[in-house]
């Protein structure tokens, strides 16, 4: 006989007529009922706790997000006006703008001082365009004249076109002996201009 059976027999022999009913109705049944209720209550509380934790986590996230938004807004708000201007600049066609500005400047100078000898718009993306993903337009221009007028003209063009970046500049001396002109400078330059695609803000 196993130990378990021996124990059971001994236990049963010690039991009175009351023992089993007390165990059944006084202990097992109410304990089961209570355990079920307690289990249900604990499950409910656990569910509620998890819902509460989730909601509070979301609330914390929302609060942090609102705070971040407030900070972000404080950071962005003063820049928004400038940004709108920048967007306008980027929206404009650099080729046309470049031409128009030059057309406005060059008549102020005599031919000997500064004269546009060429203006082309290369289609390849150039050195900057190959790396940057932003849309670009390139303007290749060449001039004859002196260094001072050229600097003045460039100052005006680049002040009005902050989207332009000087990619290269080449200056050489030239003498036109046939026309008995004194020595002048030939300036060739290429600007890369940032722009936005059609339809973008």
């Amino acid at each position: 006989m196993s130990c378990r059976c021996l124990w059971r027999n001994r236990f049963e022999s010690d039991m009175s007529a009351y023992t089993q009913p007390i165990l059944r109705f006084g202990l097992v049944t109410p304990a089961l009922f209570n355990f079920l209720l307690l289990g249900g209550a604990l499950a409910g509380v656990s569910k509620l706790t998890s819902i509460r934790a989730e909601k509070e986590e979301r609330y914390t996230e929302q609060t942090q997000r609102l705070a971040a938004m407030k900070k972000l807004e404080a950071d962005i708000a003063p820049k928004r006006k400038v940004f709108e201007d920048q967007k306008k600049i980027l929206k404009s066609d650099p080729g046309q703008l470049f031409t128009r500005i030059l057309d406005g400047i060059l008549p102020k100078y005599k031919e000997i001082e500064l004269e546009r000898s060429g203006l082309v718009f290369p289609l390849d993306r150039g050195r900057f365009g190959r790396q940057a993903k932003a849309d670009i337009a390139r303007v290749k221009s060449s001039f004859q004249g002196g260094l001072g007028p050229m600097q003045e003209a460039l100052l005006q063009v680049e002040a009005l076109m902050p989207q332009s970046v000087l990619e290269d500049l080449k200056i050489t001396r030239k003498v036109d002996l046939l026309l008995s002109q004194r020595e002048y400078l030939v300036l060739e330059m290429t600007h890369t201009c940032w722009k936005t695609e059609e339809g973008k803000p």
Binding site: L48, R52, K55, V82, A134, D168, K170
Partner: protein, 613 residues
Amino acid sequence: MLTITDPCELKAADIYRQACTVASKTSRATDGHWYRVPEELPWQWHLWFDGGREVCSATFSKLHNRWQQGPSLPLANLTTGEGVSEILGELMSTAYFQEKPKALGVILHVADEFALAEVAQAGDVGGEKGDDYQILRYNLVDDPREVLADKEVSVEANSWRLLPFWGAALTQPRCAAVTLSRAREAFLQKLLSSAEDLRMPVRVAVTSAAVEALAALPLIKPELSGGCLVAIPYYKFTAVFAISPNGELQTARSLSHRGGAVVPTGFGDILWNMALGAELESPKVLLLSNQAATLQAASQDLEIYSMSRQVIHLETLNLAEQPALKEIPGHRPEFLVYENTAVEQVRTGKTPLAQAETFRALWNNWARQTFMDTGRLDNLYPTQRDLRLLRFSSWLIYLLAFSLISTGGYGTYSLFAAMNHPSWQLTPEEMKMTQDQHTKLLLEKKQIDVTTQLLLPRSRGWVTLEFLLQIFPEDSGVRLESFQYKADAASAPAPKAQGATVKATGMVRTWTLKGLAKPKALELLSTLNSQRGLTSLFDRVAEATGDDAYRPISTRQLTVTLTQGRNTRFDAQAAPADMARDPTLAFPFNFEATITQTLSEKDELSLPLEKPF
């Protein structure tokens, strides 16, 4: 009044209900006295009766080891049970005990009958006698007809308890069953019922006075060595016990008194025969009584027998004169075995009878066997273990209920707290809206940052020309033949981690200058060829133009390569007109300088790679 039904007749649920009723309406659950045998209780009431007019009533306070005359009880009341409540009330006061009793053990010493019945298996007892006697003892209680030789006995009218003959020879019966009628149980039942109503633990026992008197013998006459017959005359009978020379009980007989005599008829013959049966060398008889008249009558009877028939050595013991019984009401030796101190004193002593198994067994419990089957009565009630279990189950249920209420309360509080928290009102739509707004703001910030970064003045033509003017001012003795400037985006660095994106790349700007120089310009070129001179030049340009792209900072690196040589066209003898026509004739040296500025991807003017929109 509590009505108890036999649990065997009830369904399980009713049994449980009855247990709960017992636990709540009686003190059984809290008072352990309900589950003790009467002789263990500190407050005892001993009733002794021999069928005469008087009932000897005594109380015994076990704590103080004090005997006292008990409430008087007429013999009729012992039969009818009248006035039991009043007597119980009297006993529960401090009239009979020093303190108010919390329980009462009632022991009825029956001295009006002592019948010995033959046990069917009496001769079969052998081997471990103690165990066999115990088995026989319980069998006799549970099913007397199975054990007794006479199968026609009435179990309703009588009850039997085993009396082992520890010193019996192999050919003699090893035990007998002492028979008592159950006539007095009605009184005790009424006593129990009244006690139940008073919620007072009262435990009862019915014992055989003759057996108790035998057990008390070594306490009264410690020097007695055995090898004798002990005769104890009562009102209706005389109990005779044969004690072997080594102090063991060999046999017993109950001799009825006929016609109002105080000694049985043919007392001498019976004693002589018993002595022979017990194989005693010389018949010695010890006669015990608390009445001198009885002793005298028995002595005369035996003296006549000794003179006319056989010599019997008689010794009488007047119990009324015994110091051990002096304090005991009625000088009853039966009461003495309930004095633990007296029993222990003799047990630990070296007296001959105290060494015998008979008396040790009698003192243990054989002498105090109750003839009333209180076990059956006790079985009607839950055991102490059951009530403990019930109490434990109640506590457990209370604990669980408390846990349940606590959990429920905590849950309600949590729900209340959660509902009052602003998080409860936050809807997913609100969150989505805020998230969208945040995303929009982040996108806007990114657009602003990339656009602002993209439009930073990192390479401008007019500043480049100013750079030329700053590097070689007028009359510096330098004639520039050609100048080339290139700005190039550096190759994008590899991402630091997988999945990471590179947001910006560095830039390389190169200034290439070719020209002619006079000797006075050599120092200028030499300055240009040094890191300090070059840095100073860039700083100067940055200050003059306000263009930060020229400002030497840690994220930028400046390098220069300068080659100088002799101008082959230089003519030291050239006339001013020639020099006006060809200025190169005036410059003895030529040079070529390449200046490189490298901006890292960490530089504020690094080129953003992302699209702004």
